[in-house]
């Protein structure tokens, strides 16, 4: 028959009290998940790494030779067929120029067979000049950026790559650098910033820095299988390495010898060429010199000429000036003269004009006088005319007469002839004479008229007239006269008579006139004189004017001329100057050219000198090189080969250590989770069953079999735990590793996520464990309960008897307690098991939290403590051989200079054994026991531990604990497979690495010889810079490890651990929360009735809550406090079990951690109470009170 009803009941039960169900589910989820999750974390990490290494063909062995290996050797090794893949890699540390300062970069050749890279961005290099860089540690770069080698690199270093600028084409991860450490270097600051890959062809050298072999898939990462397989191959590989190194040596010697010989030949040729070239150059220079010299002479000449010309010009100018000055002076003199002349002239003119005026006045006077005498003078004038006429006529007549006389006497003529001649002659001239006589008559008439006017008609006048008339009559009667001579004579006498009459007439007048005339002529002559004078003066003045005018003309002309001349002169000078200037410019140009020429000559000289020097240098260099080469060849030592396994790779070994931590924590810790979780679930189920006893009874009474009745609870518990495991394990197996890995990713960047590892075996065991535990206990409780008769079950459980509390017997205290406190105390003591459960649960959770904190506290201190209190040295320097005394002293000096004091010790890998337990550690031997404490401080707590004496050994605390050694115990030291017995004389605190210290004496006793001190510890002065590079550079130094590097590495591990711790704390806190919730939930469920009663009584909400929760509070507090010692214990236990190769821990919990743990516990309690209070509110009072229990 299908029992649907009961099945429904079973399922409904879950939904009826989901809080309880999910509490169980939750607790188991956490417990199981935590347990499994932590445990698989390391597996996940290792698996992921294993996959990564497979994908990138990580190497198994690395071989290195002091001479390097070339492709030839690599081929040879490949041909041997022992390895799946063999590949050589070039490496070089170089400085790269960044914006602020140079960074030391580890350049490698891009591999294709072994240790291939993981491309994260961009692409791989395809041609020279392309580069891919370290995705993780190279920051601030983008694809396409250029990287350039710094010029701080040595020339030799720069030459090791084909180019010095690279373009970034991609970003990669490298399996050779699993974690963030990039290593140390001898350049720059001493530590490498990041790595980069370029194509092999970009490396100029031909010897690989290392050859990597991948033997094949030997086994899972870090597995024993792998170790065995790898160990098996070591010897043969080692031999091959040495063999190949030797072959290379031979080849190298051969090659070099050939090269050097060729070199010598070239050198000789070079020498010859050089000499030739030198001669030629020298000649050319000499020629050039001569040319210049000539040029110089010319220039000097030219200069001189110019100077002369200038001088001439100056002189000419001076002279011209002088002349012009003179001319000027002359002109000015002339001017002066002219001006004076003008003055004089003006004066003269004025005088003349005055004279003229005077003359004019005189003339006026004269004229007036004249006009006074005008008549007279007119008369006189007429008289003059008359006189003239008469004279003339007289003359003419006379002449005629004479002629005629003559004629009359002429000899050869007869008188008649004579007379005829005379008549002829007279007739000829008669008319004329008559005319003349007319004229005389006229003029006499005129005179007579005039006289008449003047004197009137006087008798004389009449007389006169008569004479005139006579004449006229004569004239008229010209013909009447026959005798010409008589005529003439009559005429002459007429005229004479006239004349004499006129004269008589005129005598007074003439006298008057003569006196007037005299006067007038005096005046006139005065005037004339004056006029003459005036005229003369005028002439003078005019002459002066003319002269002056001429003078002015001449002067202006002169001025013009002078100006013209001046201008002309100036022009001439200007021209001359221009010429001179041009000439100067020419000279200047010429000078410049000359100077250029000089410079060129110098330069030419220099260049030649330089070239010659260079050539000389080259030859010298070549010589030196050749010499060097011969020496080097001579010095070339046979090589040493080293074979290194994977453990030599830092990232590889670090990952192992780092992941071990998680697995160590996972070994122990989760068990406690398991316990707490299991405990709580069991309690819950038990109480649930108890609570539902009534139901059980009913079902039994109805006739259902016991197994059916149980099935509900088994189903409830079973399904909850199965689901919890089913969800929790897979989920947390994914989540925890991922979370923890995120912390690791700060140090390891090779994979973004972890592979999912689900350890089925573990999962199943865990699930079975949880489910079985819960089912078992549930069944147990049910079985116990169901023993009772159904009726008994159905009856309400008799409430536990109220009992007196012990405290009641002390009235002193009891009576002082408030009522509510009495209730609380009674409740506590009444339900002991419940109380115990609560205490345990809370204490357990608190303890878990404290342990979580404790792990962190223990760990975080270790590093600080170790490096400030124990490991005092900063650098551990490893030499390839123990340096001699001088070398050591040099080193000490170098170290002191850059860092601080140093101490040489012998450091060996050894192991110590006591009875059956053996452990690896580092053996240190020194003869400076007293100094030793400065480098590694030996103390236990506050006590100093002295350096061991003969036959004694001092060992560190962790090792001592593991080997269970006390002071005085014997211990077996195993060194190089030999065993030696020593006595433990001291145990010192040391948490990183394990050490066994002995003195050199002891060593000698043991092995028969003194130990090789190949290690030096170096102290570090405050404020000194990083000396790693300098120490590395010291000859013979193989390796330098800086304390700060170690500190960081371990610090990194510790940081990871902290992450785990946080996870733990969170889980513990979650667990605490659930636990408290659950317990209180149960508590309330069981006391519903009580709570309802109290509410009905009228307790306020807060009061009711307090009533119920007070005891819970108290219990929580007590539980938390009880959890403290529990936590300390647990912490010690857990810390003790966390074994890491490098580090041992001081279990401790810092005070704040306690506070935090208790605080959180109480906080969760409060949270739960807050939630609970709401529940209390919702309690239906009436229903609760009504129901029968």
């Amino acid at each position: 028959m299908v029992r649907t009803a009961i099945r429904k009941n079973n399922i409904r039960e879950i939904f009826r009290s989901p809080g309880r169900y999910f509490a169980i589910l939750g607790i188991i989820l956490l417990g199981a998940g935590f347990f499994c999750g932590l445990r698989v974390t390391r597996d996940a990490i290792v698996k992921t790494a294993d996959t990564y290494f497979d994908r990138t063909s990580f190497y198994d062995y690395q071989i290195v030779s002091t001479l390097g290996y070339t492709e030839t050797e690599v081929e040879a090794i490949r041909a041997l067929g022992i390895a799946e893949a063999v590949e050589g890699m070039y490496t070089k540390d170089l400085l790269v120029a960044l914006t602020e300062e140079d960074a030391a970069v580890h350049f490698m050749s891009l591999p294709s067979l072994v240790n291939t890279v993981d491309l994260m961005e961009g692409r791989l290099p395809e041609k020279s000049g392309e580069i891919v860089i370290d995705r993780y540690m190279a920051s601030g770069f983008e694809l396409g950026d250029e990287i350039a080698l710094s010029d701080q690199n040595t020339q030799e270093d720069l030459e090791s790559l084909a180019t010095d600028t690279f373009t970034i084409v991609g970003m990669v991860n490298s399996p050779l650098f699993l974690n963030y450490e990039r290593g140390s270097t001898s350049i720059g600051s001493g530590s490498l910033s990041f790595f980069a890959y370029v194509l092999p062809e970009d490396f100029t050298g031909d010897a690989y820095s290392a050859v990597y072999l991948r033997l094949g898939d030997l086994g899972f990462l870090y597995s024993d299988e792998y170790e065995e397989a790898a160990d098996a191959a070591e010897e043969s590989i080692s031999r091959i390495a040495e063999d190949q190194a030797q072959q290379r040596y031979v080849r190298l010697v051969q090659e070099n010898t050939e090269k050097l010989t060729d070199g010598e030949k070239e050198y000789l040729l070079g020498m010859i060429e050089y000499n030739k070239g030198k001669a030629k150059a020298e000649k050319e220079l000499a020629d050039a010199e001569d040319e210049l010299r000539d040029a110089q002479a010319e220039l000097i000449l030219g200069r001189m000429q110019i100077i002369a010309g200038k001088q001439q010009l100056a002189d000419g100018k001076a002279e011209a000036e002088k002349e012009f000055a003179e001319a000027d002076k002359k002109l000015s003199d002339s001017l002066k003269q002219l001006r004076d002349g003008e003055t004089v002239y003006a004066q003269g003119l004025a005088d003349y004009q005055a004279g003229q005026a005077k003359y004019a006045a005189g003339l006026t006077q004269y004229n007036s006088s004249v006009s006074q005498y005008k008549d007279v003078f007119d008369l006189l004038a007429v008289y003059n005319d008359f006189q003239l006429e008469s004279n003339d006529t007289q003359t003419a007549l006379t002449a005629l007469l004479s002629q005629m006389t003559m004629l009359g006497v002429t000899e050869n003529m007869t008188l008649d002839e004579q007379l005829a001649a005379i008549d002829a002659y007279w007739t000829e001239n008669e008319d004329d004479i008559l005319d003349q006589m007319e004229d005389v008559a006229d003029s006499a008439e005129a005179l007579a008229d005039a006289l008449q006017v003047y004197t009137g008609n006087t008798a004389e006048l009449k007389e006169f007239r008569n004479r005139i008339a006579a004449i006229r009559t004569l004239i008229k009667n010209k013909d009447k006269v026959d005798d010409s001579v008589t005529e003439i004579r009559s005429l002459i006498s007429a005229v004479r008579d006239l004349y004499s009459s006129a004269s008589k007439l005129m005598t007074s007048l003439t006298a008057k006139a003569q006196s007037a005339q005299k006067e007038l002529s005096k005046a006139a002559s005065q005037l004339a004189q004056a006029k003459k004078q005036l005229d003369a003066a005028k002439k003078q003045v005019d002459a002066a004017r003319v002269t002056l005018d001429n003078g002015w003309t001449a002067y202006f002309k002169g001025v013009d001329e002078l100006d013209k001349q001046r201008a002309a002169a100036e022009k001439k000078f200007a021209d001359a100057e221009t010429e001179l200037a041009d000439a100067e410019v020419q000279i200047e140009d010429g000078l410049a050219e000359y100077n250029d020429g000089l410079v060129k000559l110098d330069k030419g000289r220099e260049e030649t000198g330089q070239k010659l020097a260079d050539a000389e240098q080259e030859l010298a260099d070549a010589r030196a090189e050749l010499d060097d080469g011969w020496e080097k060849l001579h010095d070339l030592k046979e090589p040493t080969a080293y074979t290194l396994g994977r453990w030599a790779n830092i990232g590889y070994s670090c990952l192992n250590n780092d992941s071990m931590i998680v697995s160590n924590v996972a070994k122990v810790f989760p068990f406690f989770f398991f316990l707490v979780a299991a405990l709580i679930c069991i309690t819950t189920m038990t109480r649930m069953v108890e609570e539902q006893r009534g139901q059980l009874g009913v079902l039994e009474a109805l006739g259902y079999s016991r197994s059916t009745v149980m099935s509900k609870y088994l189903f409830y518990a079973g399904s909850a735990s199965l689901l919890g495991c089913g969800i929790g394990i897979p989920f947390l197996c994914w989540l925890f590793p991922q979370l923890i890995w995120q912390a690791y990713r700060i140090m390891y960047n090779f994979s973004y996520t972890l592979e999912y590892v689900l350890d089925w075996k573990l999962a199943i065991i865990t699930t079975v464990g949880y489910v079985a535990a819960i089912l078992f206990v549930t069944w147990l409780t049910l079985a116990g309960l169901l023993k009772q008769a159904p009726a008994a079950l159905m009856r309400p459980k008799a409430p536990k008897l109220g009992k007196r509390v012990l405290l009641e017997r002390i009235p002193l205290i009891w009576n002082r307690l408030s009522f509510m406190w009495k209730v609380t105390l009674r409740n506590i003591f009444r339900y002991r098991s419940r109380v115990l459960m609560m205490l345990l649960g809370v204490a357990g959770c608190t303890a878990l939290m404290i342990t979580g904190y404790g792990i962190r506290d223990s760990i975080s201190d270790v590093v600080t403590y170790q490096y400030s209190e124990v490991t005092l040295y900063e650098y551990e320097v490893t030499f390839s051989e123990e340096p001699d005394a001088e070398g050591k002293s040099d080193f000490a000096k170098t170290a002191a200079r850059y860092s601080g004091d140093s101490l040489f010790v012998g450091s060996f890998n050894a192991s110590a054994r006591r009875e059956k337990t053996e452990m690896d550690l580092t053996l240190i031997s020194t003869d400076s026991g007293g100094e030793f404490s400065r480098y590694i401080s030996l103390h236990k707590g506050a006590e100093e531990v002295p350096y061991p004496g003969r036959g004694e050994a001092v060992i560190n605390n962790a090792a001592a604990e593991d080997l269970k050694l006390k002071i005085g115990d014997p211990v077996t030291l195993v060194l190089d497979e030999q065993e030696y017995q020593l006595t433990v004389s001291g145990i010192f605190d040391n948490y990183i690495y394990n050490f066994l210290l002995i003195s050199d004496e002891t060593y000698q006793d043991m092995t028969g010889s003194l130990p090789e001190h190949k290690t030096a510890f170096v102290l570090h002065r405050d404020g000194a810079a990083d000396a790693t590079a300098r120490l590395l550079n010291f000859s013979g130094v193989l390796n330098v490890t800086a304390g700060s590097v170690m500190k960081d590495r371990i610090g990194g591990i510790m940081d990871n651990l902290v992450y785990i711790v946080i996870l733990t704390i969170v889980c513990a806190a979650a667990l605490a929360f659930i636990v408290i919730y659950n317990l209180i939930n149960i508590n309330i469920n069981e006391r519903l009735r009580e709570i309802a009663t109290v509410k009905v009584l009228g307790f306020y909400r807060g009061e009711a809550a307090v009533y119920v929760l007070r005891e819970n509070l108290l219990l929580t507090l007590l539980g938390a406090i009880a959890g403290i010692p529990l936590g300390i214990l647990l912490n010690s236990f857990v810390m003790g079990s966390i074994q890491v190769d490098l580090v041992s821990f001081i279990p401790r919990v810092k005070f704040p951690s306690f506070v935090w743990s208790v605080f959180f516990t109480i906080l969760f309690s409060f949270l739960v109470y807050l939630i609970m209070m709401r529940r209390l509110e919702k309690i239906n009072m009436a229903a609760a009170l009504k129901a029968a229990e």
Binding site: A798, P799, K800, L801, G802, K803, F819, K822, V823, R826, N827, R830, R1089, E1090, A1092, T1093, V1094, K1095, V1096, L1097, G1098, F1099, Y1100, R1101, E1103, M1181, A1182, L1185, K1186, A1188, E1189
Partner: protein
Amino acid sequence: MSYISFENVRKVYKSGEVEIEALHDVSFSIEKGELCVIVGPSGAGKTTLLNILGGMDTLTDGRVLLDGENISALPARRLVGYRRQEIGFVFQFYNLIENLTALENVQLAAQVCREPLDPAETLRNVGLGERLSNFPSQLSGGEQQRVAIARALAKNPKLLLCDEPTGALDYETGKAILKLLSDTGRKHGMTVIIITHNSALTAMADRVVHIKNGTVSGMEINPEPVPIEEIEW
């Protein structure tokens, strides 16, 4: 005005989609100092009524007045205060705190109200003077109920609500308890309301309210209540 009055009270219980009407249109009133018995068959709604009156539950409709105050409109905290000071409860199953002695149980109630009666005195008054320091598990059923009554009385309430006080007791003991209730009520002038399904008890009441199917089916006033000793059932 009546001391207690229910006016058209309606109570609906909602559980998911299911609605159950426990009371519909209940209206009645009770005077001060009365001994009122509310009778009705099982499931009639008596307890619901009592719960509402006692401020332990809310109503859906209508209102309840106590001494003029509308208690159905009181906010939660005031309701608690109301319950604290004014009301005394007596339940069928005593509901004593197992962990406290009889005296302490009464003290529990006394400590929360303003003017309590002396717990020890109250216990003596109910006849348990010898049993003050006994735990409930050490008391018989009747004694336990008496402690419960003492607890209710110690609060000096105005109203005493008793839900089937004799349900878990035998005949004789039950009568004694009822007597105690009515005597105390009259002595102190308290209003006593007793819920029962035993209709024989109605005789002792001053007022009887019949509840049937969630509503008042009848109400009677007894001018002369019969003393409980004289009632036989």
